[in-house]
């Protein structure tokens, strides 16, 4: 393995792993934020309960 190939492989694997992890993290964050917003919407506005 030539130095160029080995260096490209080491740096490429590291960059790809970190970027994939970051991308996965961001997707999960977006999904959970969307879920929480949906939960809040379905719960309705606070303080509008009709008195008996």
């Amino acid at each position: 393995m030539t130095p160029t190939v080995a260096i490209a492989l080491a740096y490429g694997v590291t960059a790809a792993a970190l970027l994939l992890y970051l991308q996965r993290l961001r997707r999960r964050l977006q999904r959970v934020e969307a879920d929480l917003q949906a939960q809040r919407r379905s719960a309705g506005p606070v303080g509008t309960v009709t008195p008996p």
Binding site: M1, P3, I7, A10, Y11, V13, V32, Q39
Partner: protein, 221 residues
């Protein structure tokens, strides 16, 4: 609250770019290894970030077992995932360097084996958490496995001193630096960059953990 991750992410990106330049352009080739030494600038910082993550797991796991606060578990879980990731990267970088320099991808060497053990222990910590039926029981089991895994770090670090290994001894020790100044500078920039990457990922991962907990709590009847 959002300012800190943004600043950390920005600083990490700038330092990573500087680290790339320092490692690939500014630093000289090694007298014996030639250009293969440049792999060190991602391999060593990956291992360092793994150590930081393991340290975080160790402290927060003890705190969780002692105090039982959910925040400690959130940090421990997040850091366990990052410890697994960075240990895998350190192993991968080492193997890619080992093939041309040692002539083999893998050797049953004390440093390599203890590092592989660390990876397996932290993967096991993630697994026991997922497999446990009760969430709190899973968190406690993962904390115990994480603490056991952290005890492997001194073994990894001193393996090159205590055992006769293929892996070279530390080049930077207290009072002695066996590297050229441009190499030390490139390594330090990359160490700092990976430290910031680790902190940025940890903050984001803990935020995810907290939001997921809030979602689960809101979904419960």
């Amino acid at each position: 609250m959002r300012l800190l991750p943004t600043l950390l992410g920005g600083a990490a990106a700038v330092l990573l770019a500087a680290g790339l330049y320092a490692g690939l352009v500014a630093s000289p080739p090694d007298a014996f290894q030639g250009d293969y030494v440049r792999i060190m600038y991602v391999h060593v910082p990956s291992a360092f970030a793994a150590y930081l993550a393991v340290g975080t797991v160790f402290v927060t796991s003890i705190l969780y077992l002692w105090r039982g606060r959910a925040l400690y578990d959130h940090v421990a879980h997040s850091a366990t995932e990052l410890a697994t990731l960075f240990t895998a990267l350190a192993l991968a970088g080492g193997m890619i360097w080992g093939k041309p320099v040692w002539g083999t991808w893998w050797a049953w060497d004390a440093r390599l084996v203890t590092t592989a053990m660390l990876f397996l222990i932290f993967a096991a910590a993630l697994l026991v958490r997922e497999l446990a039926e009760d969430r709190q029981r899973g968190a406690r089991l993962a904390a115990v496995v994480g603490i056991i895994g952290a005890l492997d770090v001194p073994l990894i670090h001193y393996s090159v001193v205590w055992f006769r290994t293929l892996h070279q001894a530390p080049s930077i020790t207290r009072g002695e630096i066996k590297m050229a100044p441009p190499m030390v500078a490139a390594l330090l920039v990359n160490l700092l960059a990976f430290t910031l990457v680790y902190l940025y990922l940890l903050l984001q991962r803990v935020r995810l953990e907290r939001l997921e907990a809030a979602r689960s709590a809101a979904a419960e009847p």
